[in-house]
Point group: C2
Chain length 233, copies 2
DNA sequence: AACCGATATATTGGATCCAATATCCACGCA
DNA sequence: TGCGTGGATATTGGATCCAATATATCGGTT
């Protein structure tokens, strides 16, 4: 949430008591670990190992892994175990297409109900992004910026899906960020998007979101096609 | 897949050997049972009961339930068990918004690659729907019709999400179908959509899908608002 | 008679145990 | 020397067992 996640064990010890069941806790920690790149794509996840790391038995780990499977964050190979799903140019494009479909829909529903506080918060997040250098925190800020604009849509399913894929895109974003550094164009687009929201111009805002997502996805896909064999994030 | 699902036990005995692990099998059977309305919304799912019904121990049941939780088909209440998620007007509108976002995106990607065989199959499915009276099979045919048009999109994530929400909408569709009978307008829309696909007119086809989904969702939401306290499907 | 509390019961959450399957390595054979 | 076969090992899948929590029941008290 706040600290750079360093390694897995740092994700574990803290905020254990925030969860009512061990399964919940393990699932949340593993999810964050995968999305934040601590557990890179392709990594085999040994149940016993994770269990001792979390200080629980294999059972909550198994249940957590099943949930992550349903969310397409890990893959099960029967009798061979779970593996963190790989990132790829194809998958990046896939997620990009989903985002480009969902985000304008969420924004259009949310925009009329955005408050001044929401818009100010979004502005603040843009400023924070300007100052941020750490890829992990950058991803989180980006996600929060987008979700702030969508949050008033109501529609819990739509929002959950949107956030899920925004988070999935983070894996790729961080990857690119680490290699290319931050692209300032993205910040310009954030600013333009926010301005359109302030004007209450839904059509313009939606068009900007689509363009923003499409550009990032396109650039990322091209980047990944160059270096296809790099197993990370 | 083919037979009317009658009750839970009929879903169980058959095609058990098709799955490599008991968890997979239980998950698939429960998912179909929920989506097909055999297990209605609000129903508490007792692990022991399901285990004996499936002829397995509680463990695969637990793992399957966790997966279904991640897919938003059941809800867990700590130490009180899992419940099939209720249907509601709000949820129907939520799913409708998601479909209206995803399906045109899938169609636009798929349309250029549709073959004559695909289109003929879609046509056949429309004809089958005309002849079908059973709500359960109707839902399946409708789903297959739509997915046939989207299938060439590639993009496995997008397709999986689309199919998931198409299936979720089935729960509602069957509900309405049982109460109001089939709405012939929907078939007209299917025909128009297919015609646009045959012409290769992507813009028209996408507009038709959006309209098709929006109309159905709207009508359904209104219908559900009238009778909010009916726990079924 | 109604309400509050304690106890009993049912059910889930978690741990441990056993079985089944896959991988790895050594050995034999062509 | 290379390949295929067979057994040892590691790891998952499934069953059973125990603990923790929630609900229901019953009794007591005001």
């Amino acid at each position: 949430m706040t600290q750079p996640p360093a390694d897995l064990s740092s994700l574990i010890a803290r905020n254990r008591p925030r969860y009512r069941t061990a399964t919940e806790f393990v699932e949340a920690a593993l999810r964050e670990a995968i999305l934040s790149g601590v557990l890179p794509g392709g990594l085999p996840l040994r149940q016993e190992e994770l269990a001792t790391a979390f200080g629980v038995s294999r059972m909550p780990v198994r249940e957590a892994l099943r949930q992550l499977e349903a969310r397409a964050l890990v893959e099960f190979h029967p009798h061979r175990g779970a593996v963190v799903v790989e990132i790829s140019a194809e998958d990046s494009a896939d997620i990009g297409a989903i985002r480009a479909a969902l985000e304008p829909a969420a924004l259009r529903l949310s925009l009329p109900h955005l408050t001044a506080t929401d818009l100010d918060l979004a502005e603040e997040l843009i400023a924070e992004m300007d100052a941020e250098a750490d890829p992990g925190r950058m991803g989180e800020l980006n996600r929060r910026f987008h979700m702030t604009l969508y949050a008033r849509a109501g529609q819990p399913r739509l929002l959950a899906l949107t956030e899920q894929h925004l988070a999935a895109a983070d894996r790729y974003l961080r990857f690119q960020f680490a290699a290319l550094g931050y692209h300032p164009r993205s910040q310009d687009e954030h600013g333009a998007l926010l301005a359109a929201c302030r004007r209450g111009d839904a059509d313009a805002a939606c068009a900007l979101v689509v363009q923003h997502v499409a550009l990032a996805s396109e650039q990322l896909t091209a980047f990944l096609k160059d270096r296809p064999a790099t197993p990370s994030a």
